[in-house]
């Protein structure tokens, strides 16, 4: 999965000697990023996946506009207006009535909330939580990995210990423990509770996902730091910070991008899973919550469950395939 350091370094420093994959006309320097993008552009799976991901990103960004366009409102709680008191399903739309543009996915049992609005805003929550947590865990992973790998002695040992500590801590248990603590802290104010839940969830997801990247980076740095160009930089007195971020980091782009693209889908599922377990967000819509509510009524109202499940599935599948393609495109060993 990770980029063999030797080739990476060559790719960077002897780019003009790179053969074949570069287009035939004018030989000119290309960074590994450029090469990777060139490959990605020719990868059909990658293009389709990227389109799907882009679709979800657009849905997330323009959630209010989409709701407006369909004429639906988020969490209006029209309850008694729209719910049939005998079935407690909607008076319009599925499962008991035909399709209606007023509520394209139907309305939620009991509350009468529009399910399209729930879905669209659920997508927003999923992507926001997953991407913020991924960015944070990537940054932490890079910092810890770089510092640990480049420092000799106690600092490296200390950081390695911290990484091992977090790796050994059970993820779900941690989340289960943290949520009541958060509730007791912010219980009194629903608005603050919503914000606290949101950031606490991101915090928990970040806290338990940065370690693999840190280990990966540390390993890469271990081998890179013995290479001539780093040694040369040290000999001529380049400051450590400059070595870390200007000499080492560009060589680590590949593992970072790959980690990023593969941990996004992981966190989307984790967010949904937490919501399903009742320890996720409650103050804003999320796919996991919808799934949680819809499961008992699958017999009567399957669409209620299908919408968020297909949403999670499509998003995660697309992100995974895109991640695979990104990894392949960064790997000089794959020649396609």
């Amino acid at each position: 999965m990770s980029l063999p350091p030797l080739e990476a370094e060559e790719a960077l420093h002897h780019a003009d000697e790179l053969p074949e994959t570069v287009s035939e006309d004018a030989i000119h320097g290309r960074s590994p990023m450029q090469i990777a993008f060139e490959r990605l552009r020719h990868d059909k799976v990658a293009i389709v996946s990227a389109a799907v991901v882009l679709f979800f990103i657009l849905v997330a960004i323009f959630a209010p506009l989409i709701c407006k366009a369909f004429g639906v409102e988020l969490r209006a709680y029209p309850g008694s207006e729209i719910i049939d008191i005998n079935t407690t399903f909607g008076k319009v739309g599925p499962p008991d009535h035909g399709f209606t543009w007023d509520h394209p996915l139907g309305v939620e049992k009991g509350t009468g909330n529009d399910l399209l609005a729930e879905w669209v805003y659920g997508c927003r929550t999923s992507l926001m939580v997953a991407s913020i947590a991924t960015i944070l865990s990537t940054v932490i992973g890079i910092l810890v990995g770089l510092v640990g790998g480049f420092s000799y002695g106690w600092l490296d040992r200390g950081l390695t210990f911290v990484v091992d500590l977090f790796l050994s801590f059970p993820f779900i248990l941690g989340a289960l423990t943290l949520s009541p603590i958060i509730y007791s802290h912010w219980a009194g104010d629903a608005d603050k509770l919503g914000v606290a839940q949101f950031w606490a969830l991101i915090g928990v997801l970040t806290l338990f996902t940065w370690m693999p990247l840190a280990r990966l980076i540390r390993g890469e740095v271990f081998s890179l730091r013995e290479r001539e160009f780093i040694m040369a930089a040290r000999v001529i007195g380049v400051p450590t910070r400059r070595i870390l971020f200007r000499e080492l980091l560009p060589n680590l782009i590949a593992p970072i991008v790959i980690f990023f693209s593969l941990s996004l889908p992981l966190l989307v599922t984790a967010e949904a899973g937490f919501a399903f377990l009742g320890i996720g967000l409650t103050e804003r819509p999320s796919w996991g919550q919808t799934i949680n509510k819809a499961v008992p009524y699958f017999d009567q109202f399957p669409l209620w469950l299908w919408a968020p499940v297909l949403g999670v599935m499509a998003l995660v599948l697309a992100l995974n395939l895109l991640g695979d393609s990104v990894r392949d495109s960064f790997d000089p060993k794959t020649r396609r």
């Binding site: 309850g79 008694s80 005998n86 407690t88 009991g110 509350t111 629903a190 509770l193 409650t282 009567q300």
Partner: protein, 588 residues
């Protein structure tokens, strides 16, 4: 009596129903679900019922009845049994007591009839001395005679019903009303005595410390029945595994771990001594810890094999409602609980009764119930009186202080005007919700929306789980001013409502209403004869709601239970919120 299960019944999972049992009189229990919310007249007592019990038309003997549920079983010690399911099983099938309830098919309601006693007891003028004459020919399951000593032993054991006693979860009426209530009972204090019971031939006389007109109702509890000498030796919890029978069935096997119980015929029970019980089936097979309630509903609805001779005393799940109502095998009827939102009248923001009424006016009753997933009109009935349908003394038609019938989506304009007039705009309303339960989150959102529209300042507080929710709700110092709790009567009389819930020293006065005037009225009515009490309780109900409005009536609970196609005789026992187990028979 406590609700059969606080955790398993999801529709009321979030309600801490503090004590339960008791119920009504002349309600019809049709399967249309539309029983009336009228008032009972208090004619529930039938002292003249003769043994044997009148046969049920068309009933056949034989077969095994299966009873399925999901809430498990609590203790079967007759002295401690205080849950609707265990009390009902013991009283209807296994143990006999001074009095009992039986289903009256003409009135379509339960009535209190004699059991071991030949009548419903004789009392002196101020209800401080009750005498019951005990029938001859009552035998234990081993064929030996039940003696008066056995009966005295059983009644005295109920003095051990207190927190640190042998039976911490039992009902405490003996200690509350009988003379010598400070005695800690025969297990905790073997050398002591209440000196309240005397026996003369077949007459047993109980002396009270204060007037107790409701003694015949308390007499129907398994705790007011005999205990054999064998029950004295050894641990009461061992006796609870196999309580000796005086009724038509006896324990064959009982495994508390899996909540499996098998009852077989007790050949020493003589129907000619019993005005209430029947013994149509040969055997009873209880399997009441079956896990997923949705699966249970489905099994009963499919009605294949074993399910044809099975019944459930759990309420159906909302998700099964449509099918259940169409099956023709759904039993519905009232049950004896009211679910309240108690305003904490100690708090300065609730001092003005108009503000409390504004809360009831602003409340979005319909949406709240829908969001909570309740089957409105089936297991949740809107109301305006404290006393639920079926309780004697309930006004017919019920009064309606706010004029909204306890339903609708609330009237924010009117409520806002009321708040403005009271100078109390932006009154803080703090209440709890269980953040781990998505229906509670929705419910909270509905409440917040309705209260905000009416000019209140709703402040929901999140709790992480149902246990914490229950705990905080009953904590008088919790930082909330609106509590969500229910109350169920132990017997169909206002005396089991107003004393505990609305008097200053009531056990479960969660509105913390403390008015000497009301306290005095409650005491006065409690000492009247049972039949005179009923209308007075109705008046008091109206007075409390009109002048003080300490509680917002959220809804009344109701029963909706499924049975197989070969089950006959299943009616609603509105006193306990259970099926009438004693009348069940199998269609061969």
């Amino acid at each position: 009596m406590r609700l059969r299960s606080l955790l398993a019944a999801t529709s009321v999972a979030a309600v801490a129903v503090v004590a339960a049992c008791g119920g009504g009189s002349d309600e019809s229990s049709s399967s249309s679900g539309g029983f009336q919310a009228g008032g009972g007249s208090g004619d529930i007592l039938n002292a003249d019922a003769q043994a044997p019990a009148p046969p049920i038309e068309g009933a056949q003997k034989g077969g095994t009845v299966k009873v399925w549920g999901t809430s498990g079983l609590q203790t079967f010690h007759p002295t401690e049994a205080y849950f609707t399911n265990t009390t009902s099983i013991l009283s209807n099938l296994v143990t006999r007591s001074l009095t009992q309830y039986r289903y009256n098919p003409d009135k379509k309601a339960m009535e209190l009839v004699p059991d071991l006693a030949t009548d419903l007891g004789q009392h002196n003028s101020d209800f401080t001395e009750w005498t019951f004459t005990i029938r001859d020919g009552i035998k234990w399951q081993d064929g030996s005679d039940m003696t008066m000593d056995d009966l005295v032993r059983g009644i005295k054991a109920s003095f051990d019903n207190f927190a640190d006693g042998a039976f911490p979860n039992g009902a405490t009426y003996s200690k509350d009303y009988f003379k010598g209530g400070t005695w800690k009972g025969p297990y905790t204090d073997p050398s002591g005595d209440c000196n309240c019971i005397s026996v003369d031939g077949r007459d047993i006389t109980i002396k009270m410390a204060r007037p107790f007109p409701d003694m015949p109702y308390w007499g129907s509890f398994p705790a007011m029945g005999p205990l054999p000498k064998a029950a004295d030796s050894g641990d009461p919890s061992a006796y609870a595994l196999n309580p000796w029978s005086t009724g038509p069935y006896k324990f064959k096997s009982f495994d508390p771990g899996t909540s499996r119980l098998t009852l077989v015929r007790n050949e020493f029970w003589d129907p000619n001594t019993d005005p209430g019980r029947h013994d149509y089936p040969d055997e009873w097979d209880f399997d009441v810890d079956r896990g997923d309630p949705t699966v249970l509903d489905r099994t009963l609805l499919e009605d294949q094999g074993d399910a044809q001779t099975a019944l459930s005393y759990d309420n159906i799940q909302q998700s099964s409602r449509d099918q259940a109502e169409g099956s023709g095998r759904l039993l519905t009827g009232p049950s004896p609980c009211t679910i309240f939102w108690y305003t904490d009248t100690r708090k300065p923001e609730w001092q003005n009764v108009e503000v409390r009424k504004a809360l009831g006016t602003a409340w979005n009753y319909d949406d709240e119930k829908l969001a909570a997933g309740q089957a409105v009109g089936l297991t949740s009935i809107p109301g305006t009186m404290i006393m639920p349908p079926g309780l004697p003394g309930r006004k017919n038609p019920p009064f309606d202080v706010l004029g909204n019938g306890g339903q609708g989506t609330g009237d924010p304009q009117k409520a806002k005007q009321m708040l403005q007039d009271a100078g109390a705009l932006n009154t803080q309303v703090t209440f709890l919700f269980d953040a781990s339960d998505p229906t509670w989150v929705d419910r909270k959102n509905v409440i917040v929306k309705a209260l905000q529209a009416a000019g209140f300042d709703p402040q929901p507080r999140a709790v992480p789980n149902a246990d914490k929710f229950q705990e905080l709700m009953q904590d008088p110092d919790a930082p909330i001013n609106l509590r969500y709790l229910g109350w169920c009567s132990d017997w169909p009389s206002g005396s089991s409502w107003f004393g505990p819930v609305f008097s200053t020293d009531g056990c479960c006065n969660y509105s913390y209403l403390s008015l000497p005037k009301i306290d005095q009225k409650i005491k006065d009515i409690e000492s009247l004869p049972a039949e005179e009490q009923a209308p007075k309780w109705g008046d008091l109900d109206q007075e409390i709601m009109t002048d003080y409005y300490p509680v917002l009536i959220d809804y009344y609970t109701a029963d909706a239970m499924l049975h197989g196609s070969k089950i006959g005789g299943m009616n609603n026992d509105e006193v306990r919120g259970m099926p009438t187990l004693g009348d069940i028979w199998i269609k061969q």
